[in-house]
Amino acid sequence: MIQLEEIDRQLRELSETQDFEIQHLTNGDLSIGLYFYSSLINSKLIQERISEPFSSCHSYSEMKNILDAELFCEQVLDEKEMIPKLLEGYSLITFNDTFFSFYAPKVINDKVDYAKNEASVQGPPFALTEDSYANLNLIRRRYASSNLMVKEKEVGKKPKAKLYVMYDKHVVKETVLQELLQKIDDIQDEFIQASGQLENLLSQKKFNFVPLMLVTERPDRIVFSLSQGKIVILVNGSPFALIAPAVFYDFMSAMDDRYQTYWIGIGLVILRYISLFLTICLPAIYIAVISHNPEIFQVQFALSIAGSRAPVPYSSFVEVLFMLFLIEVLIEASIRLPKYIGSTATTVGGLILGQAAQEAGLVSSVMIIITSTVAIANFVVPINEMSFAIRLVKYPLIVFATLFGILGLISGAFCFLVYLVNLRSYGEPFFRLQFGEHASTNSKKRISG
């Protein structure tokens, strides 16, 4: 049975912090004790549900009936679960040496806001919130199926983070689910605050180049993934969900593709793949063609480039690295800057610097075009995670192109392709482009019944 001294000691320890409140209520006949974190508790609820009925109570049995009848109220039978409950937003009620916990949380981060990272033209505009209950609500409201399962998990050292693993039990692949749950249980060390962090901990390899799980903030993408048989993990406190297994096409598709007519959707996807190619290869192509294989151009263009490069004393790769460094710094700075200063940075960096660098004879005018193409095309990738990963890929290719020209570029690109093809996301082949993408999990089964 419950040990009173132990509880007493724990409560005394808890009361050392200022926002832990201890209240003793008496109404003449009876007295009860209330213990809670004032910062976590909606005091109005306690007032309505506990203290008001209590003031008209005259016997212990009457009070016990009231508490038993209350929806989120139950007796605490183990002193060990007391503190976690207090930390989750329960208040502890003691009377007559029995303990009750009453759930009255104050949640202020559950306001639904517009999607900021994955904006959509025609799709639902709202994103996930920081509160997992609100997120579960958002998802279950869209995915009205009793097959949708939610598993709660706690991971990490103290303080533990709460995860919710969601899947459609009819279409999910059992092996993938087991593997993922096992991985979650294996996590030990860190304190998890963001989905991306969880992804890193879950990933099989230490040095991953491209993300193998998809991070999204859009409920419609989550629901679509669930219907495909994928597994969604929500991290409490993070407005992003983690989706596994993911294929390459998932990162290249915006939810809008599905809301548009067929050919427009296809066209958009093709547009993104072209942009992807440009952002990865363009700087390397520039170096390879300028320094090793100028015969690839039309002669008219070659002469114009040679003319524009004439005042530039440095080799092409120095020029490229210099300009790319500037643009990376610019991107990084505009992400971290407060919104008001952000536009200044882009103006200064983009307009003035580019123009001035060319006039100063540091870079050629074609290089300015290439740099801006690379930067713009990079942001066409709809999922930020992938966009960041892609930003890095061009540098190895630049090294290859510098050393071996077009041949080096081709072999470098081939190596990258081989790497991608070799990747598996929870047992599923990762590198799927658009075609055959729907068969990635056993969603075929879903269609046939």
């Binding site: 063609v289 300028i290 320094s291 294989n293 100028p294 015969e295 002669v299 008219q300 070659a302 002469l303 114009s304 480039i305 040679a306 003319g307 524009s308 490069r309 004439a310 530039v312 080799s315 092409s316 790769f317 120095v318 690295l321 090294v399 510098t402």
Partner: protein, 365 residues
């Protein structure tokens, strides 16, 4: 910690390597682009090699094509190039050379020796155009029409297929010329570029057997030759009979031929030409006339002209259209087939039928 330091040093080392680009790394602005190569007979030595170098400019304007011509005499072409390379301050890059011009004097004998260098050369693209220059390659290289934006642009463009309606200009690629030089039953030809004022014109074709220049097709027949070799559309045929004169714009042109070898009779080349076009110009109203008659007149006219061209080529025993290849591909007699074909070709009669269809008279009434 030690491992991280190692990685850091590794990265630094790689960065340092970037500073050591060496001399093999030649940027586009450290190269001289040769846009055209001309070979003439030298005065003292065997060859005189002229190169047209494009000078890169930031702004490209009509009439401001900056170029430089350098020439050198030597006994071999590669030797001449070597000497030329030491005359300029940048590396000569033949990768953008678009046209290889051979002086008329060199064509009369031993075309194979002259072209040997370019057949072997690995730094020249195989899609280079080839031409014969009249009177000399150097003069053609020097010509720069006023409309030119990029050095040798007009020369390249008048050979390229981008130019529409160039039924007079027959073009020849290096790879095709090479092919014809060594393929039995298909003889090489080169367009002839002649100087005309500050500019030049391309309206003759020089035909070779595998060794030397055999005949030059003059402007009246060049377009017929071009039609047989390239099968272009959009060319004009002018017809004249009695009081009727009209021009046809040909929009579709196809032909097929068959080589028949009946016994005890001379071999026959049966060629069926199918032409469709519309009347572009006429000296009288044609819409109400009998179109069939008008067509007949044109058919007869075209037939005769083709027959003349084919017979004159037969007279010189040259075969640029590839009848021989056609024949040998369909009749196999081992090693004897080439001799057999030569005999057939010298005796051959040409039987040409033209099927012409006028699609419209251009105006309704």
């Amino acid at each position: 910690m030690r491992r991280r330091l190692g990685v850091l040093f590794g990265v630094l080392f790689v960065l340092l390597l970037f500073g050591l680009s060496g001399c093999g790394f030649k940027d586009i602005d450290k190269r001289f682009f040769v846009v055209a190569i001309g070979i003439d007979q030298g005065k003292e030595k065997q060859y005189k090699v002229s190169l047209k170098l494009a000078i890169p400019t930031h702004r490209i304007e009509p009439g401001h094509a900056a170029f430089q011509i350098i020439s050198q005499e030597a006994d071999t072409i590669s030797q001449a190039l070597e000497l030329l390379n030491s005359n300029v301050d940048k590396e000569l890059d033949l990768g953008h050379s678009k046209i290889f011009i051979i002086g008329r004097n060199l064509a009369n004998d031993e075309i194979l020796t002259t072209t040997d260098w370019i057949f072997r050369g690995s730094d020249v693209q195989r899609i280079e155009y080839m031409a014969l220059a009249n009177p000399s390659a150097e003069e053609i290289l020097e010509a720069s029409p006023r409309s030119e934006r990029v050095p040798a642009d007009s020369l390249i463009l008048s050979f390229g297929h981008e130019k529409i309606g160039s039924s007079l200009a027959v073009t020849e690629y290096l790879y095709d010329f090479y092919n014809r030089m060594f393929e039995l039953g298909k003889d090489p030809f080169l367009p002839v570029v002649s100087k005309k004022g500050k500019s030049f014109e391309v309206n003759q074709v020089a035909l070779f057997n595998k060794k030397e220049l055999k005949m030059v097709i003059q402007p009246g027949q060049t377009e017929l030759f071009s039609q047989l070799v390239r099968k272009p559309s959009n060319f004009v045929v002018s017809v004249k009979k009695d009081h009727l004169r009209y021009s046809l714009l040909i929009q579709s042109f196809t032909y097929r031929y068959q080589i028949q070898t009946p016994r005890q009779q001379p071999p026959i080349l049966q060629m069926d030409i199918k032409v469709r076009g519309r009347i572009q110009e006429a000296n009288q109203a044609l819409f109400d006339k009998n179109w069939g008659e008008i067509e007949r007149i044109a058919e007869k006219n075209i037939e005769n002209r083709y027959k003349n061209l084919l017979e004159s080529m037969q007279k010189h025993q040259i075969d640029p259209i590839g009848f021989g290849l056609h024949y040998m591909a369909r009749n196999h007699y081992g090693k004897k087939e080439w001799e057999l074909w030569q005999e057939i070709y010298s005796k051959m009669k040409f039987n040409i039928t033209v099927d012409l269809e006028i699609e419209s008279t251009g105006i309704i009434k």
